[in-house]
């Protein structure tokens, strides 16, 4: 029993009295006014659907995951949404490990109610096969540090995580059209959740005999307060949920005043969340565009291409003549199209799977060699083109070059499948222009 005494945080009489007397002159212990919100920062993890919110001292981490499950019987065509809270003793010694405490349950339910009752998330779009497979979205909220007002922080963390979360796309296939095919993110862009609006929770605390109202209570103020009220609103000013806890009675006029203030704060917070999410999304999109490693790859490929040429020259005698003619018409285009790949920053979803050695090489050479590489690529290309021109002039040369070009192409394909997708498009165009010219 004594050990438990030592671990718990306790408040002095002095603090309690000071908070109350200071509030009489509209002062709060951290220097805020009664209706000032603390500084809010939203950060995102490396994966989609993870967020970390810092509200003053309070820190909450949100994490969203999804899974295909069977729907509830009474709602066969709706996905499910579940919220789990984790109150770690690291955040506050008064949190106990294991069974969730009263505050953990309350927090989960308030966040859940705000999202569910206002239908902020379109659950019907989470249905894959009615009655059989639906997506179940799980929100995990981890309290990392308790500096007061966990509900607001957790709610913001949940929203930010939901906004950045993307589930893998899946389609129906198979013989009976009932088989679910999941597409990995490399093949098809994952789909974001449909979020209609953002229900923002704003918490007020009532302190002292006169029931002084303050917004966003800190943990000190939470220890003193007689009651609290959490209003969940969106930008339009729609009240999604209200939770009033604690024994202190509150007048109707006070509740209305709280709602008015809350709607202003909700708009403010919504703006902050949207801005942070927007920043994250642009950085996510930018990550997909690969610049430096590509130029290295291309120059390597070009070097490689010259090697198999020699080898293939010997074996190419067995090639049929028909092949020869066909490949002749296309080989110049292929080289041109390669030049295009090298020049532009090509879309490459494979950036994650990039070869470690290649990456190292590219990183090492990034600063110094990039201008050189550009120089490198062009002479190579010219060389190649010259060779091809010569071969064209010779009218009917050995099939060696064409085969070499093809082999190069095959090799290229093997090295990065993604390159095969876009250039197709370009090749056609080039083909057209080429045929016009010749």
């Amino acid at each position: 029993m004594e050990q438990r005494f030592a671990n718990s945080w306790r408040m002095t009489v002095n603090e309690k009295k000071f908070i109350e007397t200071a509030l009489l002159s509209d002062l709060r212990t951290d220097g805020r006014g009664p209706f000032d919100y603390r500084n809010l920062t939203i950060q995102f993890g490396s994966e989609d659907g993870s967020s970390e919110v810092q509200l003053g001292q309070t820190r909450v981490m949100g994490f969203v995951t999804s899974q295909l499950v069977q729907p509830y019987r009474d709602r066969p065509n709706e996905g499910t949404l579940a919220i789990f809270t984790e109150f770690s003793p690291m955040a506050d010694p008064s949190f106990e490990v294991g069974r969730p405490g009263e505050s953990a349950v309350e927090l989960g339910r308030i966040v859940d109610r705000g999202l569910r009752e206002s239908k902020a998330i379109d659950t019907e779009s989470l249905c894959v096969i009615a009655g059989k497979w639906v997506w179940s979205v799980r929100i995990d909220l981890h309290i990392l540090d308790n500096g007061g007002n966990l509900i607001d922080a957790a709610n913001i963390a949940a929203l930010a995580a939901l906004l950045t979360f993307r589930r893998p796309e899946c389609t129906l296939g198979g013989e009976d059209g009932q088989e679910v095919i999941m597409h990995p993110p490399e093949v098809r862009e994952p789909l974001p959740l449909i979020v209609h609006h953002l229900p923002i929770a704003v918490t007020f605390a009532f302190i002292g005999n006169q029931s002084i109202v303050i917004i966003d209570p800190s943990h000190l103020e939470e220890a003193v307060m007689g009651g609290k009220l959490t209003a969940t609103l969106n930008t339009n000013g729609d009240v999604c949920a209200i939770q009033k806890a604690g024994g202190e009675g509150v007048l109707q006029s006070v509740v209305m005043q709280c709602l008015r203030i809350a709607s202003v704060k909700a708009a403010d917070i919504t703006g902050k969340i949207k801005k942070a999410v927007e920043l994250y999304k642009t950085s996510r999109d930018l990550k997909k565009i690969k610049r430096h490693p590509d130029s290295v790859n291309i120059s390597n490929k070009l070097k490689d291409m010259e090697k198999p040429k020699l080898k293939l020259e010997k074996t190419s005698g067995s090639q049929s003549d028909d092949m020869e003619v066909e490949s002749h018409s296309s080989k110049k285009d292929e080289h041109k199209c390669k030049a295009v790949i090298g020049g532009t920053s090509s879309w490459d979803p494979y950036s994650k799977v990039a070869d470690a050695d290649e990456l190292k090489e590219s990183l090492a050479s990034q600063d110094v060699e990039t201008p050189d590489q550009k120089m490198d690529v062009t002479p190579h290309e010219k060389q190649q083109l010259n060779v091809i021109d010569e071969s064209l002039r010779d009218a009917d040369p050995s099939p060696s070059l064409s085969v070499a070009a093809e082999a190069g192409e095959v090799k290229n394909k093997a090295e990065s499948l993604s390159d095969a997708v876009k250039p197709k498009h370009k090749r056609k165009k080039k083909n057209l222009s080429n045929s016009d010219g010749s």
Partner: protein
């Protein structure tokens, strides 16, 4: 010859040390007793470090490691701020942020007898002195100085208490006075009590000054002395 034992450690004094560092070699010391404080241990003939921090030495023979942390490790002679948690017939249980509660004997007050035992409400803030801090025992506190006078010890009334790190409270107590308190003290009047356990109590005539002082101390914790001075001066100008 007398200085010899401290020669190997002299290079480490006031330097950052890490767990495992050997501070002293006892086999080279001849007939001299040394006193070890927190963070040091004896390993046969060697004195090694147990926690990261700065090694301090006080003449003639005291060694200890100073760190900044949120928990407090009680050591005899420290002045700390404690919160009364419980009262028993012969002891008050006081929370001093240590691993265990500390005992404050009901007779450890100036002129304390069985008849005039003070009555403390739960949650009263006390300025006390650690008398005993032995391993395996709850630390013992006292509200008297060594000569049995009340000195400044006892309950603190009114005001506001906040918790910081032990490192910050040590800088607040350091002499010459740290720039924050010095600059603040020139312009405004306030009372302050700093415990080595990282608790700081501030009181003044108006709550606004208390809020200003406490927030300034917290905000300037990680600044250099010159930065602190500039910051405090700008804050004071804003207030006027």
């Amino acid at each position: 010859m007398e200085l010899k034992p401290s020669i190997p450690s002299s290079s480490l004094i006031d330097q950052h040390v890490f767990p495992g560092d050997v501070v002293l070699d006892l086999s080279k010391i001849t007939s001299q007793t040394i006193k070890l404080g927190g963070g040091l241990r004896q390993d046969g003939d060697l004195i090694s470090v147990m926690k990261g921090g700065v090694l301090r030495f006080s003449k003639p023979n005291k060694y200890w490691v100073e760190t900044s942390q949120k928990r407090y490790v009680p050591s005899a002679g420290d002045n700390v701020l404690g919160i009364v948690v419980d009262a028993r017939s012969d002891n008050f249980f006081v929370d001093i942020k240590g691993p265990t509660l500390a005992f404050l004997p009901v007779l450890a007050f100036e002129g304390g007898t069985r008849r005039n035992i003070p009555k403390f409400e739960m949650g009263t803030l006390l300025y006390v002195r650690v008398v005993k801090a032995d391993t395996g025992m709850n630390p013992e506190l006292s509200c008297m100085d060594a000569s049995g006078k009340a000195a400044e010890y006892g309950p603190l009334k009114e005001g506001f208490m906040f918790e910081t790190s032990t490192g910050l409270s040590r800088t607040l107590l350091s002499s010459p006075t740290c720039p924050v308190l010095e600059t603040l003290g020139k312009k405004i009047a306030f009372e302050i009590a700093v415990g080595l356990n990282g608790r700081v109590w501030v009181n003044s005539s108006t709550p606004s000054i208390v809020v200003l002082v406490s927030n300034t101390i917290i905000q300037t914790a990680s600044m250099s002395p010159t930065q602190q001075k500039i910051r405090v001066e700008s804050l004071l100008q804003k207030m006027q």
